[in-house]
C-alpha cells in the first residue's frame, strides 16, 4: 500500500504546530496503524530526522494510551476500536490520511501527537474512589449485588480513559468519561457511602478543568472504543441534581446531651 500522510508536528507545548506531509510506500494491509507509524519513524530516524511523538502502551486495546484523530475520527474510521487495534486494511491504497492530536483546552499538546491528559487523573482523584476495609480479604460474594446493576456498572467500568469522547465532542465536553466513572461506582453497594460527595466533587473538578458542556450530539458514544452509552450522562445529571438540590449535605453539628 502507498499512503500520503499529513501529520501534526509541534516541537513543544508553546511552539506553533503545523501539518507535515509524508509519503509512505510498501505499507502492509496487515500492519496496525501504530506499526505503520513505527515504520515511518524508523525511516525518519534513518534520514536523521526527528521521529513523530505518539503515545502507545499495551497495543491490545485495553490501556487507553494511544490517542489520535485520524481523518476527523477519534481512533480512526472503525467503530469500537482503539488506534492500536486499527489495521491498515481499513484504508485504501493511495489514500490521504490526516493525523491530529486530541483537540481540547484541557488536553494541551505536549509534543506532536502526545497530549497531557492529567485533567482526567484529577477528575478521578476528586472522587473516583471508595472506602474499603483493610486487613484480610473479604469472602467472595459476601455482598449480594443484583445482576442487572452489576452488569450496568461493568458497562461503565469498561471506560479506559483514553479521552476519545472529549476529542470527538464538538463542545470538548468530558461528560461521557466523568459519567462513566461516577456510574460504575455509584451503581454498586460499595460506592454508596460517598455517592453524593463523589458526583459533586467530580463534576466540579470536570468544570474546573475547562471542559465544555454537553449538547447531546452523541458523537462521544460513537467514538468511544468501549461503546459506553450516553445514558450514563443522564444518570450522572440525575445524581448531580439530587446531590445539589435535594440531598444537600449539612455541615456536621455537635450533638448536645439533653
Amino acid at each position: 500500500m502507498r499512503l500520503t500522510l499529513y501529520v501534526w508536528r509541534q516541537p513543544s507545548a508553546d511552539a506553533q504546530g503545523d501539518f507535515v506531509k509524508y509519503d509512505l510506500s510498501d505499507v502492509s494491509p496487515d500492519m496496525s496503524f501504530l506499526e505503520m507509524l513505527d515504520v515511518l519513524n524508523a525511516n525518519l530516524e534513518e534520514l536523521g530526522k526527528e521521529p513523530i511523538v505518539f503515545e502507545s502502551d499495551c497495543r491490545e486495546g485495553i490501556c487507553g494510551t494511544c490517542s489520535m484523530v485520524i481523518n476527523g475520527r477519534a481512533h480512526g474510521p472503525e467503530s469500537k476500536t482503539t488506534v492500536c487495534q486499527l489495521h491498515m486494511r481499513s484504508f485504501q491504497d493511495g489514500e490521504t490520511i490526516y493525523i491530529e492530536p486530541w483537540r481540547a483546552r484541557a488536553f494541551p499538546v505536549v509534543k506532536d501527537l502526545a497530549v497531557d491528559r492529567s485533567a482526567f487523573d484529577r477528575i478521578i482523584q476528586a472522587g473516583g474512589y471508595i472506602s474499603v476495609r483493610t486487613g484480610s480479604a473479604p469472602d467472595a460474594n459476601e455482598m449480594p449485588i443484583p445482576k442487572v446493576e452489576s452488569d450496568l456498572s461493568m458497562d461503565a467500568a469498561a471506560c479506559i480513559g483514553c479521552g476519545a469522547c472529549v476529542a470527538a465532542c464538538p463542545n470538548g465536553s468530558a461528560m461521557l468519561f466523568t459519567s462513566a466513572k461516577i456510574s460504575h461506582l455509584g451503581l454498586v453497594p460499595q460506592g454508596q457511602p460517598e455517592r453524593t460527595k463523589r458526583v459533586k466533587k467530580m463534576v466540579e473538578q470536570m468544570d474546573d478543568e475547562l471542559f465544555g458542556s454537553c449538547t447531546n450530539y452523541g458523537e462521544c458514544q460513537d467514538a468511544c472504543p468501549k461503546g459506553i452509552s450516553i445514558s450514563f450522562i443522564g444518570r450522572m445529571n440525575k445524581d448531580y441534581m439530587k446531590a445539589k438540590l435535594i440531598e444537600v449535605e449539612e455541615p456536621r453539628k455537635e450533638v448536645e446531651s439533653q
Partner: protein, 232 residues
C-alpha cells in the same frame, strides 16, 4: 442553588427546563390557533376572535382586563431570556474548551437538527420579534385592526412572501424541537436505551405535528380554503 447554576450540568438543566416551558407554550399556541377552523359562533363572532377576547378577560376579576395575559407574557419573556442567556454562556464555554479546531472532522452520530440548534434558535428569535410586530402589535401589517384576529390573518397571509417566511420559521422551529425534546429527556436522565428509539421517534413526530398545525393556518388562508370575512 446558585452553585448548581454555575456548573455545566446546572446550566444544561436550566436550558432543558426553560426549553420545556417554551415547548408547552408552543403546544398551547398551536392548539389555540386551531380555532381558526371553527367558523363563526351563534352571535356572528368568529371563534378565533372570541378566543382572543377570552385570553384578555380570563381571570379578569383577579388580575383586571388583560392582566393575566400580561402575567403570562412576562413569565414567558423571563423564561426565554434565561434560556438564551444560559445558551450564550455555554457557547462561550464551548469556544474556550476547543480553541484549536480540527483540520478534518467527520461527525457521524449527531443529527442535522442537533447541529443546527444555534442557527435554528436564532431564526426562531428573529421570527418571534417579527411575529409580535406582525400579528400582535400589527406595526408591520397594513390595515391591522386590534381585536379582529380573523380579519388580520387574512390581511397578513395574502402575501406569498409572508407565507414563505412563516414556512421557513416553522421549519426552523420543527428542527429545533426535534433535538430539543429528545435532549430534554436525555438531560434529565429520563431516557434509557430500551425506550430511546421510541423517544426519538416521538420527538420527531410531535415536531411534525406542531409544524403542520402552525402552517395549516397561513396555507389555508393563502389557498382560499378559509373564506375572508365580509368586511375585506
Amino acid at each position: 442553588m446558585l452553585s448548581f447554576y454555575k456548573s455545566t450540568i446546572g446550566k444544561k438543566v436550566v436550558v432543558a427546563v426553560t426549553g420545556c416551558f417554551l415547548f408547552l407554550f408552543v403546544i398551547g399556541h398551536m392548539a389555540g390557533n386551531m380555532k381558526v377552523f371553527l367558523g363563526y359562533d351563534r352571535h356572528g363572532v368568529h371563534h378565533i376572535d372570541a378566543y382572543g377576547h377570552f385570553l384578555r378577560t380570563f381571570l379578569e376579576d383577579a388580575f383586571g382586563y388583560g392582566g393575566f395575559l400580561w402575567l403570562m407574557r412576562g413569565g414567558l419573556l423571563a423564561i426565554l431570556a434565561l434560556h438564551l442567556y444560559t445558551v450564550m454562556q455555554l457557547q462561550v464555554l464551548k469556544a474556550k474548551a476547543r480553541p484549536v479546531d480540527y483540520k478534518k472532522q467527520d461527525l457521524r452520530a449527531s443529527t442535522f437538527s442537533a447541529r443546527t440548534m444555534m442557527l435554528g434558535g436564532f431564526v426562531i428569535l428573529l421570527f418571534i420579534v417579527f411575529h409580535l410586530l406582525h400579528l400582535t402589535l400589527g406595526t408591520v401589517l397594513e390595515g391591522f385592526v386590534h381585536g379582529e384576529v380573523y380579519a388580520n390573518l387574512h390581511r397578513a397571509f395574502r402575501s406569498p412572501l409572508t407565507v414563505f417566511m412563516y414556512i421557513i420559521a416553522m421549519a426552523a422551529l420543527g428542527l429545533h424541537l426535534r433535538h430539543g425534546l429528545w435532549s430534554f429527556l436525555q438531560t434529565l436522565g429520563l431516557d434509557n436505551p430500551d425506550r430511546n428509539k421510541c423517544i426519538r421517534l416521538g420527538a420527531a413526530g410531535l415536531s411534525v405535528v406542531i409544524v403542520l398545525g402552525f402552517l395549516s393556518v397561513p396555507l389555508a388562508i393563502y389557498f382560499g380554503i378559509l373564506i375572508p370575512p365580509a368586511n375585506l
